[in-house]
């Protein structure tokens, strides 16, 4: 196989990876930041970084886990930089919790059910907003992306025990919020 042909195959593989995982990476970043523009930018950066390092990807974890790890690191870097650039804090485009709770799939639900669902979503958002960065990441990977604990552990670089502990605390907070205001 010529070198050009090998490059061509790698490019095709990467294209397939982008097509498959881009929406999921975007969704995770959107849920983490609540900012559509920022989520798009970070998703672009994530795939740019992945493309640059595609040759070094050995397949020890799944491509999704690898991409998620890049996305998590980019998000961390972003918030770290933002803390340094304190004057840019006011320029965030993040939507507020009420607006984020407005989104519900248009299923066959009654108005009452939709209102209840919206209220529940709002409460979960409130809890997510108050979680630490790490807890939020673990929580979103588990309950939005439906990842396994081992995958979350790989993506975050934490042990499975730590992931369990973070999830336990986060769910405890959601439970308390739902119990307290019902």
């Amino acid at each position: 196989m010529t070198r050009v042909a090998a490059k061509e195959i790698a490019a095709q593989e990467f294209d397939a990876i982008v097509a498959t995982h881009r929406p999921q990476i975007f969704r995770f970043l959107l849920a983490s930041t609540r900012d559509v523009d920022l989520a798009e930018t970070l998703t672009q950066e994530c795939f740019l970084k992945a493309h640059r390092n595609w040759g070094r990807f050995r397949g020890e974890s799944s491509a999704m886990t690898w991409l998620m790890r890049i996305a998590i690191n980019l998000e961390k870097d972003h918030w770290r930089n933002r803390r340094m650039q304190f004057w840019r804090r006011t320029q965030t485009n993040a939507v507020d919790l009420d607006e984020a709770s407005e989104w519900l799939p248009s299923g066959e639900r009654s108005v009452e059910q939709q209102m209840l669902a919206r209220e529940q979503v709002g409460r979960v958002w409130r809890v997510v907003d108050g979680l630490s960065e790490r807890q939020r990441t673990v929580f979103l990977l588990r309950y939005v992306e439906e990842q396994e604990l081992s995958e979350i552990a790989q993506a975050t670089g934490l042990s499975e025990g730590t992931v369990k502990a973070h999830l336990s605390r986060a769910v405890g907070k959601v439970r308390a919020e739902l119990r307290g205001k019902r």
């Binding site: 559509v36 984020a100 799939p105 939005v144 396994e148 336990s168 739902l178």
Partner: protein, 163 residues
Amino acid sequence: MRTRNQFGTRLDGTGLDATGFDATGFDAGDGAGQDVVQDTVLEQALRNFKLSVRAWSEAAYSRPRAAQMTARHRSWRLAAGWAMACVLVAGTVTGGVFERAEQQRAVRAAAVKAQQAQQQLAAARQRQLQDQKLMTAVDTDISQEVPSAMEPLADLMQDGETQ
């Protein structure tokens, strides 16, 4: 029997951690009826949350991109950044120049003041010398002059001396 909730988490009490929750935080203890209701509500809330995020994400992902607007927005930010940087640099330079000019002006004023003081001192010294000379002259004149009442006696003294 092993059961799984819709997140694929076991709810049969296996895999409990030290806090009494299973891996996801669902109560898996002695199965009090209230907890079952709680877990149902919790499950429902988490499912709604997931569906909500997914609906939002899908809508945001498939929306038309406003690349030009973003670029303009960014270029506006960049321009504002540069303008602010220019103002800062100009301010710093102007401040430096002003301070330097101010220092020079102060040095010049101090030099003029010192010169004036020296001149005043020299003038005072001159005046003192003149006064001293005048006083000496006055003293000399006074010592040579004789009061009018003593003049006949002085004449006699002068005659005696000539004789």
